[in-house]
Symmetry: C2
Subunit: 403 residues, 2 copies
């Protein structure tokens, strides 16, 4: 039986090693690096057993011991987490893979994996007494933080590019966010948010400037381990923009090793990017520790159009340490793969998710994955958020017709 | 330990009592009534215990004993079910209700509760050896049956009104359905489907002409009972179009009584309709057993624009037997309620779901529900399916601005 609700110890800097308390608001380290959360895992391993999970609710708070919220009263939840892992037997067989799976993060509040980061991030912000948060977004994160913010009575200020998915705007609006559009990119939105935070003293919820979002996303890794009965799969593919998901999953597996819940083996982590925006792939192929700003980036997979991620060095570390790889796929390959998965398996993914099946085909050809590998595609969102992805003509039929 | 995977016994007619085998394809009874599925609940009650559920996966197949699929190999699943029940503490307090909850069916594959009916209906169709199904739809059911059909290798023929939600078209398209639009209503689509089925020998998956969809939807009732620890809530509100959900929930509670898993108390079931299409409300207020066709129906809650439901007599029976009620709310009230729930609770519901909070306010004023009642709003889908529900102007900000 766990003696504490959370075994959080504090924040630390993965670059310079500096420690920070989690009792106060912190964003980046003084050295400019994102901060990560540290837990007292030795103590947790003694008090907490994976059998304790069996009777817990199927949401991400079942792992509260390794989440940063100390007081359960601060939890702001819409029932997020424990998304299904489904077999892609037919799509796998088509490309010679016998154990292909998809974890479907479309089945979350707001329809994307962003709900995980928002649930944990907003809960911790509530614990810290925050009243207003601000963030730039390509749409999905803004929608998620807006609704959790509303539930927590925390005001949200959101700035997004005007061509972000329309439905994400509406969701921000409905939840009462203070929403602004900008004729530019997420990086432009970020600059506006940066200046406004400085002026108004708002809490900065930008990717990786806020250290708790990653804790929410790491629960994907815990869930995969539990859903595979604590025998981790061989390979996990992740659509990589800001990279918080892949950083979180890597952190989860390292923590699970410290807890003694999984063995030495780690899944090979694969960062999938669009050819039109592939800074991580470029850096990986050159063996670099950091990426360079990717100029004139462009892809239909809007969520992974991130030219330079603040946590790029952590993403690359996760790839190197797990003997993973980075792969780029074209927009045409993404669309084709999206249709193939929908037709064979009945899963209508977002374009970001579609990129994964395109990528796994390439990795099979390359010999990076083999027929008997257990492979998980991490689909980050539902296709229904993007009504314009499919542009086919649909035939009309007459009222007196017989088909 | 259960000795059988399913305790299905056969089909029966709730109107004339005639029995039918479930080993062959059946649609309506020879008397014209929908058919219902019967189980050997006495045997199930002996073999199966609710404690057996604890270790099962959090999807609707955890109740396989009272679902119609005999062979688990026929199950076609995308991980659907066990959607969260979340507290609406703030929205409840605003109207003097202390125990208001929402069960969120937006968190399902395809974003609506239709996934439940499609999962079970397609699985049973697979067991029956069906190769092509056809159906008319207002959008959401078509999307759900298309994706599950794709997964099962069953061809789907879908006919929908041209003004059904665009994203549902795209989802049908992506899944490879044979999709047609019609310049008319779902009833017009139904006539085309009817003629085409007769000509081509397709399987009729129209609402309640297919007896297994309701079995999928009844799992909402099982889940509510389990999630409230087998002490059923006092009142459940349901947005009612075709009414399959409310019929299913009522059936679930009756079965749960036979299993001995709940006591004598039943929740009062409330059918919520739009003022512009309220045939059930009209029939209920007149004390009738059936409804009349509602002429010139119109509402923004597209999914409940059903002028005459084939199962109206079953819906009305469920209301009378549980001492429930039927309530109509205006489109303005629906939109207002949708915004209130989103702003207070962070849940962006579909308009159909929004109608429930509007209705519960009325029922509180009327004295039909009281402050201490445990009340569940059954939100049938995610707001993200309807990008046009919110039409507010969103301000732009300049690139060099500080907010």
């Amino acid at each position: 039986m766990s003696k504490r609700y959370s075994y959080i110890k504090g924040l630390y800097c993965p670059k310079c090693g500096k420690k920070h308390t989690e009792k106060e608001i912190h964003h980046l380290c003084s050295c400019g690096s994102p901060l990560l959360v540290e837990y007292n895992l030795k103590q947790a391993a003694q008090d907490w057993h994976k059998d304790d999970l069996v009777k817990r609710k199927p949401d991400l708070w079942r792992y509260h011991e390794i989440l940063p919220v100390n007081n359960p009263e601060n939890i702001v939840s819409l029932g997020e987490g424990f998304t299904p892992v489904v077999s892609l037997a037919k799509a796998g067989a088509k490309v010679g893979l016998h154990h292909l799976y998809l974890k479907d993060e479309g089945i979350l509040p707001t329809g994307t994996f962003k709900a995980r980061g928002a649930a944990v991030g907003i809960s911790k912000a509530k614990e810290l007494g925050v009243s207003t948060i601000a963030m730039p977004t390509n749409g999905n994160a803004g929608a998620a933080w807006s609704v959790y913010g509303a539930r927590a009575d925390i005001q949200t200020v959101i700035v997004m590019p005007e061509n972000a998915a329309k439905i994400t705007r509406n969701e921000c609006q409905a939840a009462g966010a203070d929403l602004y559009l900008v004729k530019g990119l997420i990086s432009d939105a970020g600059k506006i948010v940066g200046r406004s935070i400085e002026k108004n003293g708002w809490y900065d919820a930008s990717t990786l400037k806020e250290p708790y979002r990653i804790e929410g996303k790491k629960t994907m890794g815990y869930e995969i381990a539990e859903q595979f009965n604590w025998e981790v799969p061989d390979v996990i593919l992740y659509p990589t923009g800001g990279g918080v998901g892949i950083i979180g999953i890597y952190k989860a597996f390292r923590e699970l090793q410290e807890l003694g819940w999984i063995g030495e083996k780690l899944p090979k982590l694969v960062a999938v990017q669009a050819e039109g925006c592939s800074p991580i792939v470029k850096a990986f192929e050159a063996g670099e520790k950091e990426s360079e700003f990717y100029k004139n980036s462009s892809t239909i997979a809007f969520g992974i159009n991130v030219p330079k991620a603040l946590g790029d060095f952590l993403v690359l570390e996760a790839l190197y340490e797990t003997k993973g790889i980075a792969v780029a796929v074209s927009d045409e390959e993404i669309l084709e793969a999206l249709h193939e998965v929908a037709e064979a398996e009945g899963i209508f993914t977002c374009p970001e998710g579609g990129s994964l099946y395109a990528a796994v085909k390439k990795l099979k050809q390359k010999g990076f994955v083999s027929a008997e590998d257990k492979i998980v595609l991490l689909n980050t969102g539902a296709g229904i958020i993007y009504p314009d992805t499919i542009q086919d003509e649909i035939p009309y039929t007459e009222l007196d017709a017989t088909l």
